[in-house]
């Protein structure tokens, strides 16, 4: 753990969880070194939410979650209680799948939840299974997260042993099996249908929705609820304290707290549990309780508000609240809660390239526009940076983007250009939003920093006037 180094100001790599003031609904145990053990979990109120659920009917538990308007934390922000109601009647078996594949650039909150409080997640899984009448859950953990896998495995063993998972949980008729499975290192298996393919033992490639909406036709063709790690980690608290207490935090449309992972040029990067909907970006980046400002007190140039797929924000969006609807209307998204802050020293073209390169490398290869288009974009950007850009490249980049994601691409308003925001999400010629995600940094960078592209493209390295020819000694 590297928290100690945080006090010294700016650190290059986002280090981990930052303890600060404010309500802590899901990170309350993070301060304990042994937070991941069953003993610690039980001594800090663990599995009480499960017990209180088992005392109610599954329908009542579902109602409580619906009432809490718990929004999905995987990116789309869809209310969990409503999603749970989607499986078509009478089709069994059904499954719960926990999405722990977290791989979006800058996102590392689920990893902390899995490493530091695996029992809280397991309890959330059990509550969800109880509410939905399920007896089988799968926990899909990203391939590279060795510590998370280890801790979850340990926690599952402990929980089976102690009778929280398995047959007749806590001597009730409720029985559940939870299986952990890990990926082979692909961002795309975070997309729920690709994750399901991967769970089925196939190559992780998304399925087309419709018809493959997981809640209707999911794992093994059966109704499947896919929820994010953070979403489910909220359940123990909600069942312990009630929906109305939960709604006491955050704003009306975005209740509770959220974990935001902030990286980049701030003085105190890390993961913060923040009250949803009330805090603003400005407060988060500059507030004493949070990131404490930009490194070297530089000017903020731009920031990514919610994962690499999100169109960029600038100074003028700093006062937006951390709330999905407000951010969406302004032309971007809160997505997975990963923010990357870039100061005035940042090269917009390079920043753009590194995000585009990520998507190009992570494309699953299924759709022609994404497979071919993202790499084409990457190659053009690289060529521009290498000094071989052509004036036509800018229109070309925008048009490639238009062929992956037709129509006006969502972008924050540019007051200086008198443009209105196009709301998120974009349209797509692809199956999943990964391909179109590569367009976000391109449109953002070109619209705002066209001059940087132009100067790279029109740059002429001086041609040396006299060429020194080495004399050949005969």
């Amino acid at each position: 753990m590297v928290e100690s180094s945080l006090q010294t100001g700016y650190v290059k790599h986002a280090p981990g969880f930052v303890e600060n003031e404010g309500p802590k609904l899901i990170t309350s145990r993070f301060k304990h070194a042994d937070s991941f053990t069953l003993d610690k979990y039980l001594s800090t109120g663990g599995y009480e939410g499960l017990k209180s659920s088992l005392n109610r009917s599954p329908g009542q538990v579902h109602d409580e979650v619906r009432e809490a308007s718990l929004l999905g934390r995987g990116g789309a922000g869809f209310p969990a209680g409503i999603k749970w109601g989607f499986p078509p009647e009478g089709v069994w078996p059904r499954y719960l799948v926990v999405n722990g594949d977290e791989s979006e650039i800058g996102t590392y909150k689920d990893r902390l939840l899995m490493e530091r409080d695996p029992h809280q997640l397991i309890e959330g899984v059990l509550i969800a299974c109880y509410a939905l009448g399920l007896s089988q859950a799968f926990l899909y953990v990203r391939g590279e997260m060795a510590l998370a896998q280890e801790r979850i495995a340990l926690a599952l063993d402990e929980a089976y042993e102690a009778g929280y998972i398995g047959k007749n949980i806590l001597d009730t008729k409720f029985s559940v099996d939870v299986v952990m499975h890990w990926g082979a290192g692909a961002y795309i298996v975070g997309e729920e249908t690709a994750l399901i393919e991967s769970l089925e033992g196939k190559r992780g490639m998304p399925r087309l929705k419709p018809p493959y909406f997981p809640a209707a036709i999911g794992l093994y063709g059966k109704p499947t609820i896919v929820n994010n790690v953070e979403t489910l980690s909220n359940l123990p608290w909600i069942l312990n304290n009630g929906a109305s207490a939960y709604k006491g935090f955050g704003s009306e449309s975005s209740p509770g707290t959220r974990m935001f992972a902030i990286s980049g040029h701030v003085k105190r990067p890390g993961v913060y549990e923040v009250e949803h909907g009330v805090t603003t970006f400005r407060e988060l980046f500059y507030g004493d309780n949070f990131c404490r400002g930009i490194r070297d007190d530089n000017e903020l140039k731009m920031f990514i508000p919610g994962g690499g797929s999100a169109p960029w924000f600038f100074q003028e969006q700093l006062d937006l609240p951390l709330e999905a609807s407000a951010v969406g209307a302004a032309g971007s998204m809160l997505g997975s809660g990963a923010m990357v802050v870039m100061d005035e020293t940042t090269d917009a073209v390079k920043a753009c390239l590194s995000v585009v390169r990520f998507f190009a490398r992570e494309s699953c290869g299924k759709c022609s526009p994404c497979r071919e288009g993202t790499t084409w974009e990457e190659k053009i950007l690289q060529r521009i940076l290498d000094g071989d850009g052509r004036p036509s490249d800018i229109d070309l980049l925008l048009d490639i983007g238009d062929n992956i994601s037709p129509g006006p691409y969502p972008a924050a308003a540019f007051s200086d250009e008198g443009l209105d925001a196009v709301p998120f999400p974009p349209s797509q010629t692809t199956i999943c939003p990964l391909g179109p995600s590569s367009v976000a940094p391109i449109v953002s960078a070109i619209r705002r920093f066209r001059n940087e592209f132009d100067s790279l493209i029109t740059r002429r390295d001086p041609i040396p006037l006299s060429l020194e020819v080495e004399k050949v000694v005969t």
């Binding site: 299924k366 060529r383 010629t429 199956i431």
Partner: protein, 827 residues
């Protein structure tokens, strides 16, 4: 498409402002095409599940929530759907996708086999942007890598449409090619060190929409525009797959499958696809041969002769003996027309009934004729039950196997296997029951609730099967030979019993050899005359056309050989039959041939049997003749001429018509047309069939209504297996030492070789391992071999493949026995 939308269920959609009707559940791309609007596509293939991978078929679809770009290959038509295939957005998206597909495409069209018939070329011309804006370096891969012996993959050309990989997985069930790597480096490939070993791999070449997959026999042989093609029927096995035969400069260069709804759906086995190489092999017989008159005892020596001399010798041989001392074997390679005229020569002119197209490897025609007939579609009826009594469709009738696989996997058919060995379908079977060899009848008895001497665990499973059968009114039986080392009666008795028990069940006979069903229809069987009638009922109809007609049922092949060893046969005519290779009891054949005075062979290659013939008449093959074919359903479809035969080789029907003139001058028919007319006049089942219009038959062919006879077989007694003996089971595999494969460079090396298998527990008991050499001892002969332990082999049996390199398993078969039990001795 015969299926017309019925008024109540039809869905109404608007395509480009025009109202059209779609079938419920029909994919938009198909509905549009049926109504005249072609939407470009790469991944969509109507015989496979949609994936929506290439994104080429994007069109603007409005289902009430405003127009949105959607892949039309994934969207089912719904009422009031409005589709715009010409909107600016649609066109931009389609141009965009084509540009993406082309940026890394090598555009090596001038040296690409697909050039000229390439969907990528065609659709680029029709829907593409016209120009590329890509100035970066293209993706490169090593130029073609072999994915198996015959198929090459050029990853640079691949557009990653998932057709080949889906075919391998969904259709063939051999998912040995897959995507590897990701993003821009995504590529099709095999697993390391595991070739794409599939009997069906050639189909991937056919469905690849670019030149990424090519097949060795066609690579760099011709440009598509130099090919002339005719639609014909594959005569290789009895499924009668529809094919396109493609020729350039009088040489067949390619077979491709034609999508026939009721038969092969466009698929072919590799064997059928590449067999044409044998037809143009330079070792083909190109003219008639006779043997020198040589001194007694010295080796016969074949020399070329003229057709007239060969015919005269033929007539002389016939005239020197009496009809009952003449035998005719074979005929399944022939067209229906040639079969008829040979039937007339044998039975109606010579007057012998010793005529049999089967080599003791099929069924008695009387039994077949007494069973309810079926078709492939009927067998595969969604939700039905399919009972497999014998033979492995995957090994014997590949295209049928693919249909059955689809029926089970996609159409909820239930397969019940009652076979002595595991088959290619066992994994998909609802119940795969190992019936010990010789016990088929017992299994059927148990099914129908009669006492049976089978073991308890089998009986238990059969009780479960009973329930499935009771609750289903579509029951089809696939009737094949369980083993070539046992008499066909074993399965025949089972079939007859099964029909008694399930009077509504229909039967599809899995006789394997090409046009064997036509041969039976035309009377190339003892006791039968053209039109499937017996000697008594048929002779009336024939008397105006046939000078004579046998009155007593003649010998079947086995009996002919037995009679020959007793000196009762003087002349043997082999109609493209190679009994030395194909008859189960090889010793019997050799003894018989040694005693026969004159052997006459009509064939295309100098097979082992032809080499022993005194008169050889060189015949044409299926690509060199006009005629028709009857498949296992009784479906007649045309065989079309594409090239000329080598040298003076002649179509079988011509040879036969010539011989008619030599035998009985001025007896008709004398032209092909007259021949066709005569068939429809004399054969009841071909009554309404106009053979002269055979080329006008559409690709579904015409299924004959063949009716059904009554029959009675006498029960044969199966001897009890002695303790410590092993019952021999011999089955066919797709590739063997057959003469055609041997003459096709693509197929030559594919036979798996001898692998004689035993249950490991039995081996352990005998104290033998896979390294020990053992002696297998049958009644007539013995072989030395090693045994391969195989837990799937039923205990107390030995399982061997037919006609492979290695020890000759036929030495162990005595065809006078109903089953062959062996002793194993360790050396």
């Amino acid at each position: 498409m015969t299926d017309i939308t019925s008024a109540e269920t039809a869905v109404s959609i608007t395509v480009d402002g025009k109202k059209v009707t779609a079938k419920p559940g029909e994919l938009l791309i198909d509905a549009c095409e049926r109504n005249g609007t072609y939407i470009p596509r790469f991944c969509h293939h109507s015989r496979m599940q949609p994936v929506g991978m290439c994104r080429m078929c994007l069109v603007e679809i409005d289902t009430g929530r405003g127009p949105a770009l959607q892949p039309s290959c994934m969207i089912e038509c719904s009422n009031e759907m409005v589709v715009d295939t010409q909107s600016k957005k649609t066109i931009k998206a389609q141009e965009g996708v084509l540009e993406f597909l082309l940026i890394n495409h090598p555009l090596d069209c001038p040296i690409c086999d697909k050039g000229g018939e390439c969907p990528l070329q065609d659709q680029t011309m029709a829907f593409g942007p016209g120009e590329s804006r890509f100035i970066e370096e293209k993706r490169t891969y090593r130029k073609p890598i072999p994915v198996n012996e015959n198929v090459f993959l050029d990853r640079e050309r691949c557009v990653l449409c998932d057709r080949c990989t889906r075919f391998a997985d969904q259709v063939a069930g051999d998912s040995l090619i897959h995507f590897i790597d990701r993003g821009n480096k995504t590529q099709v490939n095999t697993y390391p060190d595991q070739p794409f070993s599939s009997y069906f791999s050639g189909n991937t070449v056919q469905i690849c929409p670019v030149g990424a997959l090519t097949a060795a026999p066609f690579r760099f042989k011709a440009r598509p525009w130099d090919l002339t093609e005719v639609e014909s029927t594959s005569t290789f096995d009895s499924v009668g797959n529809r094919i396109s035969v493609q020729e350039s400069r009088d040489r067949v260069l390619r077979f491709t499958g034609v999508d026939s709804d009721s038969v092969n759906w466009g698929w072919l086995t590799d064997k059928e696809r590449f067999i044409f190489e044998a037809y143009s092999n330079e070792n083909r017989l190109s003219g008639p041969l006779t043997t020198n008159e040589v001194a007694e005892g010295s080796q016969k020596h074949a020399v070329a002769t003229s057709w007239s001399e060969a015919y005269e010798k033929f007539v002389k041989a016939i005239n020197e003996t009496t009809p009952e001392r003449i035998a005719v074997i074979g005929g399944s390679r022939l067209t229906n027309e040639a079969q008829y005229i040979w039937s007339k020569i044998a039975k109606g002119i010579i007057g012998t009934d010793n005529v049999d197209a089967q080599l003791d490897d099929g069924f008695s025609p009387e039994v077949l004729l007494s069973l309810n007939p079926s078709t492939i579609d009927k067998t595969c009826k969604p939700g039905g039950v399919i009972i497999l009594l014998g033979a492995d469709p995957k090994e014997e009738l590949g295209a049928l196997y693919l249909r059955l696989r689809h029926a089970i996997l996609q159409d909820q058919c239930k397969l019940i296997e009652l076979t002595p060995t595991k088959t290619g379908l066992s994994q998909l079977a609802t119940h795969s029951i190992r019936v010990p060899p010789g016990k088929t009848l017992e299994a059927v008895k148990a099914l129908s609730g009669e006492p049976s001497e089978l073991e308890d665990d089998i009986l238990k499973e059969l009780t479960k099967v009973q329930k499935i059968i009771k609750n289903n009114d579509s029951i089809s039986v696939l009737l094949g030979r369980t083993s070539l080392a046992e008499t066909s009666s074993i399965v025949e008795e089972g079939a007859i019993k099964l029909q008694e028990y399930l009077p509504k069940a229909s039967f599809l006979p899995l006789l394997r050899r090409g046009n064997i069903n036509g041969a039976i229809d035309m009377g190339l069987s003892p006791g039968l005359l053209p039109g499937r009638c017996d000697l008594e009922e048929g002779s009336d109809k024939l008397q105006n056309y046939w000078p004579t007609c046998p009155t007593h049922k003649g010998f079947k092949t086995k009996e002919m050989f037995e009679a020959a060893t007793d000196g009762q046969i003087d002349v043997l005519i082999l109609l493209a039959a190679d009994p030395i290779m194909d008859f189960p009891d090889s010793q019997l054949v050799q003894e018989a041939l040694d005693r026969i005075e004159t052997v006459i062979a009509v064939d295309i290659f100098a097979t082992d049997s032809v080499l022993q013939a005194d008169i050889v008449l060189a015949a044409a093959t299926a690509t060199e003749i006009e005629g028709s074919f009857t498949n296992l359903e009784g479906r007649i479809s045309p065989i079309r001429k594409s090239v000329t035969p080598p040298g003076t080789a002649r179509p079988d029907w011509m040879i036969a018509l010539d011989l008619v003139q030599y035998l009985v001058p001025n007896l008709g028919p004398s032209t092909f047309k007259e021949l066709c007319e005569e068939i429809s006049l004399v054969s009841g089942i071909h009554k309404d069939f106009d053979f002269s219009k055979v080329e006008q038959i559409d690709k579904e062919g015409v299924v004959l209504n063949r009716g059904k006879n009554k029959t009675q077989t006498s029960l044969i007694k199966i001897p009890k297996q002695k303790a410590n003996s092993f019952r021999l089971v011999v089955t066919r595999s797709m590739y063997d030492k057959g003469v055609l494969s041997a003459h096709s460079s693509a197929l030559k090396g594919l036979a798996p070789g001898s692998r004689i298998k035993a249950n490991p527990k039995d081996m352990e008991k005998l104290g033998i391992t896979s390294d020990s050499t053992v002696r297998l001892i049958g009644l007539k002969g013995e072989i030395q071999t090693r045994l391969t332990p195989d837990p799937e082999t039923t205990r107390g049996t030995i399982h061997a493949l037919w006609n492979q390199d290695g020890p000759d398993i036929r030495k162990l078969i005595d065809s006078s026995l109903p089953v062959n039990d062996l002793k194993i001795e360790k050396i």
